[in-house]
């Protein structure tokens, strides 16, 4: 009965593996990242496949930013200031991020924001 009362603590699950049923959505695809390639070319095959999903996620970030600042100034600030900060990041990360922005067509500042999400959201 406790599983119907928050925090919905269940009896310990058993026989869930191999993954199946309503808690399992899908398996995960494999990609190779060739570290011998120049950093800006390493992510091209991943981004080629995931461009639309990446765009959808970034759009959700834009929508969230607009909910807080309806004028759109927050995203403008991201697009203007974060590319400047990107140039201070160490390589190969800097060039990989630039390559991802170039391959996806998503503004550099927004891809940079995604890559520093952790530091932004630890408060």
């Amino acid at each position: 009965t406790t599983q119907f009362i928050p925090p919905y603590t269940e009896d310990c699950r058993t026989d869930m593996y191999p993954p199946k049923g309503p808690t399992f959505r899908s398996t995960v695809s494999w990609y190779t990242i060739d570290l011998d390639l120049p950093p800006h070319k390493r992510w091209t095959s991943v981004i080629k496949d995931k461009k639309k999903d990446l765009d959808d996620m970034i759009q959700a970030v834009r929508d969230l930013a607009k909910a807080f600042v309806p004028s759109g100034r927050l995203i403008e600030l991201v697009d203007i200031s974060l590319p400047l900060m990107l140039n201070t990041l160490p390589n190969p990360f800097r060039d990989e991020i630039k390559g991802i922005a170039s391959d996806s067509g998503i503004p550099l500042g927004e891809i940079t924001l995604f890559n520093i999400f952790y530091e932004v959201f630890t408060v």
Partner: protein, 253 residues
Amino acid sequence: CTSVVAEDSKGNLLHGRNLDFGLFMGWDLKNKSWIMSEKLKPLVVNLDFRRNNKTVFKSTNFAGYVGMLTGIRPHLFSLTMNERFSLDGGYIGILEWILGQRDGMWMSFLTRSVLENATSYENARSLLAQTKLLAPAYFILGGNQSGQGCIITRSRELSLDLLELNVKLGRWYVLETNYDHWEDPFFLDDRRTPAMTCMNMTTQNNISIKTLYDVLSTKPVLNKLTTYTTLMQVSNGNLESYIRDCPNPCMPW
């Protein structure tokens, strides 16, 4: 997030994690889910990082994110990180970085650098404990030999605590959610107690990739923020991951 490193009765090290992300980043009333968590799920990829056509490390990651949150260096160590919330958080580190104080490292860049360059479990532990960071974090590290598993609790500057496996003391697993292990978790977000209850019920004799997945599938360890589950075994270099859903009723975090 919930991360576990466990040692089975034969001395094999197993490492599992649920990655939870997207709290307060938009709630979808219709689907009763977090917007950001749902948008991240299609971006989950497994990556095989190769040099000279040989695997250096493997990772579960988000497409477009160059840092690492989950990874394995086959036959050497496995590594996950969990978010550590603090008022002295990453935004202060970012501000310092902008103002020109750049002696700290971005968290996910450090984990990637460790996965790419560390030559042993001890080397990885030392780098994760000693490198100055821009944001606090928990690093959960597993090795390839009995006793090699630990939780490193980090502030931006210091390693605050190191909790290691100690089978002789009965500590055959270490488990981290998003709270310092020496303090009680926030009462509205206690995933530690159910996870530890299930680990204790499983017992060391029965722990395996299969039963670790069972533990990570039990609510509220599995919750609306859970994006993926990854299971790793350093001895055979295996990494497998699964995109997750948490059907109602399910905790939002």
